[in-house]
Structures are given as structure tokens and as C-alpha cells.
Amino acid sequence: MIRVGLPYHLRNLAKVGPEVELDVPPPVTIHTVLSALESRYPVLRGTIRDHGTLQRRAFLRYHACGKDISFQDPNAPLPEAVASGSEPLLIVGAVAGG
């Protein structure tokens, strides 16, 4: 089971808690996890990555295992700790403004 942490506004939009759990068949990558997330919560389509290009929105980042993996190849395998469910993939809103 893959764990995904969502920022406050996306939790409210999808009507879920801070973290959701998803079944994601291998390979477990940023793209496959997000596709599973969007399939289960279609309202999130377009809010994390572009509908067409699947590019990450400019004011969002992906974190895992204490690292910023925003610029990792989205088709590359995620760390084993994420794939095994011991660590979440975190979707984080950029701190913009003051």
C-alpha cells in the first residue's frame, strides 16, 4: 500500500484526511502513484500536474524520505521505503508569499 500526503487545500477538495493509501502495481514511480491517486480522486486531475503534459505544477514539490525529489525522472522508481509503504510520498505546496 502506497501512502501519499496531500496539502491542506487538496485534502479538502478530495474530501480526505492528511494522507491517503493507494494500491499501485509496480513499477512504483511518481507518475504511477499520481495516476492511481487521480483515478481514485478524479477531482485532483490537473491540480498536481498538467492535464496534458503531466508536468508538475510550478508551485508544488514532491518529497520522499526527507529529500526533495521534484526534479527526479517521474518514471524512475521511487525509494523502496515509499514502495513498501513505510514512508509517504509527500506532495507539498511551495511557500510563496510572506
Binding site: P7, Y8, H9, L10, N12, L13, S39, R40, P42, V43, R45, G46, T47, I48, H51, G52, R57, F59, L60, G93, A94, A96
Partner: protein, 394 residues
Amino acid sequence: MSKIRVLVGTRKGAFVLESDGKRQKWTVSGPHFAGWEIYHIKGSPVDPNRIYASQTSGWFGQIIQRSDDGGKTWNPPGSKPEDLVGPEGMPKGESNKFAYDTSDQTGRPLTTHQFYDGSQHPWEFKRVWHIEPSLTDPDTAYAGVEDAALFRTTDAGKTWHELSGLRGHPSGPNWMPGAGGMGLHTIVIDPTNPKRIFVAISAAGTFRSDDGGATWKPINRGLKSQFLPDPSAEVGHCVHRIDVHPSRPSTLFMQKHWDIMRSDDAGESWTEVSGNLPTDFGFPIRVHAHQPDTVYVVPIKSDSEHFPLEGKLRVYRSKTGGNEWEPLTNGLPQENCYVNILRGAMAIDRLDPCGVYFGTTGGQVYASADNGDRWNPIVRDLPPVLSVEVQTLP
């Protein structure tokens, strides 16, 4: 007795204000979509329980919300899994997806427009500024977006398709963003001819379609904008708002960046009717519910100082179709008032005498139940108000 429902979009959510026809005591619900910018929220004239809202965020993009019970509950249309998958398992469109139509069949190439510095800049979708529900079908609505284009849904917001003839107009490379972006912020459908649609874009100007949105012509003859190399250019004007009276849809009133303008030939030509206004800069303009020559504006000091002259919040009303204007101040702050009233933040109900409503960037929503003669705040402390619409319910 009739009921009134005022729909308020703010920087941090939507609010629904309701009253009976006396319009003295109000209930307030909200914030709906707390923390999100609600650029516009408007009900269907055919089915007043059907309300569309544009929910948007610099972080998370564009969401369309729909209520089918008068604003009590909301859902993004078409966001159930079964809505999004066709019978053969292929994905269908999404309610949040606003993709410029570049197809060979119905689209136009994605070109560039003029940027602030004069360079050419690619068209990029940012948000929905305005949703205009059809006058005849509750499942049909138009969306005006930034960067400027017009979209239409015919399935109650599940899918949106661009009417690309507007964005593809040959003048597109000369359009440029206003201070708030290059938004298509005003859509007016002719109530006597649903094929005739007027739109306004900052800063391109006003356009008219006579074939339901397939083709468009700029209708800006008579406008003068000193910031343009040619002040009388065909496009490039910063039109802030237009409005018509349903009984006389060929007469349009316009609040331009500067100047109040009037056209009596469906936009073919315009004449200035700023008359005795103390300043003719401003954002909203609305026409009275029952008197086609009675018009309301809220003059703002200047394009550099977006607040009322002398700290006095004054609505101005003309009963002569422009030129002769009277200040309406009863109940409005007449000292130390430095709020702004944005282009979409004024509305008129259909009762007699008609109610006039406007919201401010200071979070007040003011209401007049007597054509603007006297005003009272319905609420004082909302987030900055982006839009105000009103529904007159049986």
C-alpha cells in the same frame, strides 16, 4: 414573496447571502471553498438552483464547482470515476480541463499575444474569470478565461470546449494583458438573439459574435486609449465592463479603463457619456432592472490610485443614459474610505424597486433596496470581494 440570493466570490472563498424581498435582514453562509480564490459565481436564469463557480489557485490551478440546490452543496461536475470513463474504458474530458482547441477540425493554432514589454508571448491558460450560464438551457454555460479565450459546456460543466474563433482572430497578436492579466472577463448574451454574444477582454477590447461564437469581430470604433500608439486602434483597449438592458440589447454601456461609453448599434460605434462625473476611471457598470437608461458606476480616482476620490465612496447614477450623473451617498462611508470595487463586483436584482449590490476590496457588500437611493452593508468583513451576482427567486 420573492427571495433574493446574492452570490459573492472573494479572494478566500464564496459566500451566499439570502433575504426576503424586503432585503433588510440577511443570512450569510460560507465560506464555501475556504482559502481558494472564487473569481465568479453565477446562477442559471433557467434553473436558479443550478449555480456555477470558478474556484482557482496559483498553486493548484482551476476547479469548476456546481451546485444543484441553490448553493447549499457543491461538487465539481464530472469528477466521479464513472463520469470520467467512457463505455470502452477510454478517459473522457474533465471538468477542470480547459485546453485551447488547436485541432485541425475546429481549432486554431496556438499563437502569441503581446506581452507587457511589447514582446510576443505564448497563450497560456491560467484561470476562469467569468461563467455565463445560458439564458435557455441550464446545462449550457460559457466561460471566459485568462489568457483570453471563450469556452462552452453543454453538459453542465463536465467538459469544456473552446470556441476558438475568438482566440484565433487575426488581431490576437496585438492583444495584451491588463494589470490583472489578459482575461476575458465579461460575457453578455443577447436575450433576444442567443446567437449574438458580446465579450470584453483586457486589454484587447470588445468583440461580438452573431453566429453563436464561431466567428467574431472587434467592436471598438469610437474608443480612445492614450496608452496605445494609435489611440483609436481596432484592438488593444482596456475595456473593464459592459452591460445591456434585456429590453434593448443593442444599446451597450461600457466602463473603459478611463471613459464611460455608450453604443446604440450593438457596438458598431461608441460615444463617450462620462459627462459630469468627477472621474471616469472605474471598473463595474450596470444597467437598472426596469429602466434601460438608468446606469450605475463607481468612479475611482485613477489608474494609479485605485480608491474613491477624497475617501468618499459614491455610486453614481445616470437616469439619462449617461452624461448627467448624480452621486448616491446615503449610507455609504463619506470619509477615510480607500477600497476598490472590482469589475465583477456589482449586480442588480429584478424586483421593483430594484436592488443594487456591490462588494469592495475591503470585504464589505453594500445593498440598496430602492434603486440606489439608500445603502446598507449586508456584511462588513469578508475577504476582498472579486464578484457579486444576484438571483431574484420566486
